[in-house]
């Protein structure tokens, strides 16, 4: 059986020392191993950004696409081969700015993939501009006078568009992060995991210390019930979104694949693609 080391490869990440994305990488590798997966069973589809490089750092199949489009690529892959464990990953700009349309619709569609957002509330790769996750007043190269746009609340957004699995974690808590990723992969349907993953270079506000001070773990909230959507929404609003753990899970919602008429258990990629003479004749007859 594969261990987390089997999910490591020889490539040295080009992230800055201390970047939160290292923990996400480690947690992913652990989660795969803990779930008994083999490297060839896993495909990671990532976007463009510092975070997007993650697919190249895991010893598994990896597809590093274009900015903001990890989700449709991942969904196409999963529909092609439902035997694969497909994980999409990228930055907050990738998922909540340029790719926001896909995020909302991937949630609605509910294909059985897991989406991990490395949320550093800034654009890392392009060297420090504002992101849709930057707080009002946040100063960056593109907002020298401070951001004057409201930050998006991804968890609340996900709940309103019908997400079946919504979780949040932080790079400094490898244990919880690993666990949340495992649960997200196990969940049948689309799972959104937002990870506070500090950018030590371009975000001097939302630092490890800042998160330590401001984050509340849901495990500390007595009676918290992740199957209660109202409670999830209320709790997010009460804490300004700064909670970690599984925020909401609906185990009854069927994944997209189960709702497609005629869709088989056997992956499409393994099925015979030639049509029979009978089928052909029947189809041709429709045009007579």
């Amino acid at each position: 059986m594969a261990t987390f080391k089997d999910f490591r490869n020889k490539v040295k990440p080009n992230w800055c020392p201390g970047c939160g994305d290292f923990s996400v990488l480690a947690a992913m590798q652990r989660a795969f191993a803990n779930l008994g997966l083999e490297p060839e069973d896993v495909a990671i589809v990532s976007g463009i950004g510092c975070s997007g490089r993650i697919s190249g750092y895991v010893n598994a199949y990896g597809f590093h696409g274009v900015h903001g489009r990890a989700l449709p690529i991942a969904q196409g892959l999963k529909l092609a081969n439902r035997d694969l464990t497909v994980v999409a990953a990228g930055g907050d700009g990738d998922g909540f700015a340029i790719g926001m349309g896909h995020t909302v619709h991937a949630i609605r569609r509910n294909v059985d993939i897991t989406y991990i957002v490395m949320d550093n509330q800034v654009y890392g790769l392009t060297k420090g501009q504002t992101s849709p996750r930057s707080a009002m007043g946040f100063k960056t190269k593109s907002t020298p006078a401070g951001s004057i746009e409201a930050a998006i609340s991804p968890m609340e957004m996900a709940l309103t568009v019908g997400a079946g699995f919504v979780a949040q974690s932080v790079s400094s808590d490898l244990k919880q992060l690993t666990q949340v990723i495992e649960e997200g992969i196990k969940h049948k349907g689309f799972s959104l995991i937002n990870v506070f993953s500090p950018c030590v270079t371009y975000n001097k506000v939302n630092t490890y210390d800042w998160f330590k001070e401001n984050l509340v773990s849901l495990s500390e909230i007595e009676g918290y019930d992740p199957s209660d959507r109202n409670m999830a929404m209320q709790t997010l609003m009460d804490h300004n979104g700064l909670v970690t753990g599984i925020i909401y899970q609906n185990k009854d919602r069927k994944p997209y694949e189960d709702l497609i008429k005629g869709f088989k258990e056997e992956p499409l990629a393994k099925q015979d693609i030639k049509i029979s003479k009978d089928q052909f004749d029947k189809l041709a007859a429709e045009f007579m």
Partner: protein, 585 residues
């Protein structure tokens, strides 16, 4: 008796014009006539003038005609807008209800048929379109019984009563016109050969071709004039285990297609100009990652929203150049519905053989024009997957936990394509420049080698049958006419007239736009004194492409039409005459 004639039905959109045309043509198709149907419609769903013109012939036809013999009108607007097309002794069959009148200067004969009244007598005012069909077939000399099968199939679900009523409406319409027949010119059709053929729009043929090619996933966003492809496939794919995903936009559609192809499933998307514009970045991704992808572009009037329901061929250069950077890409352009079927199958083969995006370039007139197609041949369906390593193939273990060389340098530039899920096949895929295992690399040496590898895949031409359709029997021609996509039949018809006058005319229809079939086109151009390039655009995109690849600019004359309508045979004929007589147009 007529060897061929044209019939048109018009009225407000939503009045049953389409189904009148559908039913008439299905019955005539089954009797063995060749047909070509072209619908003129607006972006409105209800209301707005709409018409369908159907050409009926005992010989193959692939073009609308200049003239009109019979016009069926549900309102005065139809007469006012279309009567000028009628031949001298043409006939207008109009609903008596609106007291139809003939515009000044039109010599056609008007017969007011109580479409609505008869339909009401039969039981339903909506059946006025069936009364109109009946009235028409009396003129054509087609018996009412020819409609029995079609009407039964169409209305069986609604019960025998509805079937009977529709048949009754047709019979009464026919009987009404029958009483006037003695005084009317002869529009009876010569007998047909009675052979069974298909009658389909280009989009049907593309969709059917995709299914036959083994495509099992389509991702698309609706747009005129491509939506029929997704609509046809969503009905049939479930039986084959596949599906159509209506995505949130065309960027999602193309990237989903890339994901699915990466996963090993033949997948396609289809759109028109606006959608293709959105897809351009991802098409570059497919080129860079050497992922197969089949993209259909059904051209319509541009730019921007342009003329969404009208004919144009103005995306040629965009299809060649619209992604940044340099990638291998194939663009093919079928020119008949039959070719739409076979070429779509080829598109999937090419995409996998050359591991690159393949664009099937169609246009509105080809995608939506309905034409007779000779029976399709099952045995011509060939599936070639190139250097794909099937999922069940066992690969040897890789030394030192290296990655699989997915982008290995090879003689032909094409590397083995291993699918995710394969043991010992791990590799990386990225739109960033990469080495042979897919790992990012900025090495100048690697960069140059990788660029050359990708571009070399298409260097020696591609394995596409008939890159240029030739009808070129003259070694020394007065004129060569060049076109692409839907203009094939129209050019052929103009050419026939010119030839009948003793002029020597050759015709080359370009079916492979990229890589450009330079040698074939050059050879034909050399044989001709003048070359007329017929294209539905203003700037002469195909003309430029020929100039760029072939040269001989002094011979080339661009003939463009960009008013939203397809060329008429007479327009091409007149331009050719002009060019031959005056040396220029």
């Amino acid at each position: 008796m007529k060897k061929q004639l044209s019939w048109k039905v018009g009225g407000q959109q939503g009045e049953g014009i389409d189904s009148a045309g559908e039913i008439l043509s299905t019955a005539l198709n089954r009797k063995g006539y060749y047909l070509y149907g072209y619908r003129h419609f607006s972006s409105r769903i209800k209301g707005g003038h709409s018409n369908t013109k159907i050409r009926i012939s005992t010989k193959p036809v692939r073009s609308i005609s200049d003239e009109l013999d019979i016009l069926v009108a549900f309102d005065q607007e139809t007469i006012d807008l279309n009567a000028h097309e009628l031949v001298k002794d043409g006939i207008i069959l109009a609903d008596a209800k609106f007291n139809p009148t003939i515009p000044e200067g039109i010599s056609a004969r008007l017969i007011a048929v109580p479409f609505t009244k008869i339909a009401e007598e039969v039981g339903m005012a909506q059946m006025k379109n069936m009364v109109a069909v009946g009235a028409s077939i009396a003129l054509l000399g087609i018996p009412v019984e020819a409609f029995k099968e079609v009407i039964e199939e169409r209305f069986a679900r609604k019960g025998q009563k509805v079937v009977d009523k529709n048949m009754d409406a047709i019979a009464r319409g026919a009987a009404f016109v029958q009483t006037e027949m003695a005084t009317l010119p002869d529009f009876k059709l010569e007998p047909s050969d009675g052979k069974q053929r298909l009658y389909m729009i280009g989009n049907d043929a593309i969709a059917f071709g995709a299914l036959a090619a083994g495509a099992r996933l389509m991702a698309a966003y609706p747009i005129t004039p491509s939506s029929e492809i997704m609509e046809w496939l969503i009905k049939r794919l479930p039986e084959f285990g596949g599906t159509v995903v209506q995505t949130e936009d065309e960027i999602a559609a193309i990237t989903m297609v890339i994901g699915a192809n990466y996963g090993g499933v033949r997948a396609l998307t289809a759109s028109a100009g606006p959608g293709l514009s959105l897809m351009t970045e991802a098409i570059g991704l497919a080129g860079m990652t050497e992922t197969p992808a089949v993209i259909v572009n059904t051209q319509r009037g541009g730019p921007s929203t342009g003329l969404p329901t009208k004919q144009e061929q103005s995306d040629v250069l965009a299809m060649l150049y619209s992604t940044h950077g340099e990638i291998p890409k194939i663009v093919i352009a079928p020119s008949t519905a039959e070719e739409c079927f076979y070429d779509t199958i080829e598109a999937f083969n090419l995409a996998e053989e050359y591991q690159c995006p393949v664009i099937i370039l169609s246009d509105l007139a080809l995608s939506l024009g309905k034409q007779t197609v000779e029976p399709l041949d099952y045995d011509r369906i060939q599936i070639r997957r190139g250097k794909l390593v099937p999922l069940d193939e066992e690969l040897p273990e890789l030394a030192n936990s290296e990655l699989f060389p997915r982008y290995e340098f090879t003689e032909d530039g094409i590397s083995r394509r291993v699918l995710p899920g394969t043991k010992y096949g791990l590799h990386h895929v990225t739109g960033v420049e990469h080495d042979q295992t897919g790992r990012p690399s900025e090495s100048p040496i690697n960069r140059k080698k990788m660029m050359d590898k990708r571009l070399s895949k298409l260097k020696n031409g591609i394995n596409f049958p008939n890159p240029v359709h030739l009808d070129a029997k003259h070694e020394e021609a007065d004129l060569l006419i060049i076109g692409f996509c839907s203009t094939r039949g129209t050019i052929a018809e103009a050419m026939e007239r010119l030839e009948a006058e003793g002029l020597k005319v050759n015709h080359a229809h370009i079916r492979q736009i990229l890589p450009f079939p330079t040698e074939i086109v050059a050879e034909q151009m050399k044989k001709a004194k003048k070359v007329l390039v017929v294209e539905n655009n203003a700037t002469g995109q195909l003309t430029s492409l020929i100039k760029m690849n072939v040269g001989m600019a002094d011979k080339l004359v661009h003939f463009g039409k960009y008013d939203g309508n397809p060329f008429l045979p007479s327009e091409i004929y007149n331009q050719c005459k002009e060019l031959l007589v005056h040396g220029h147009i």
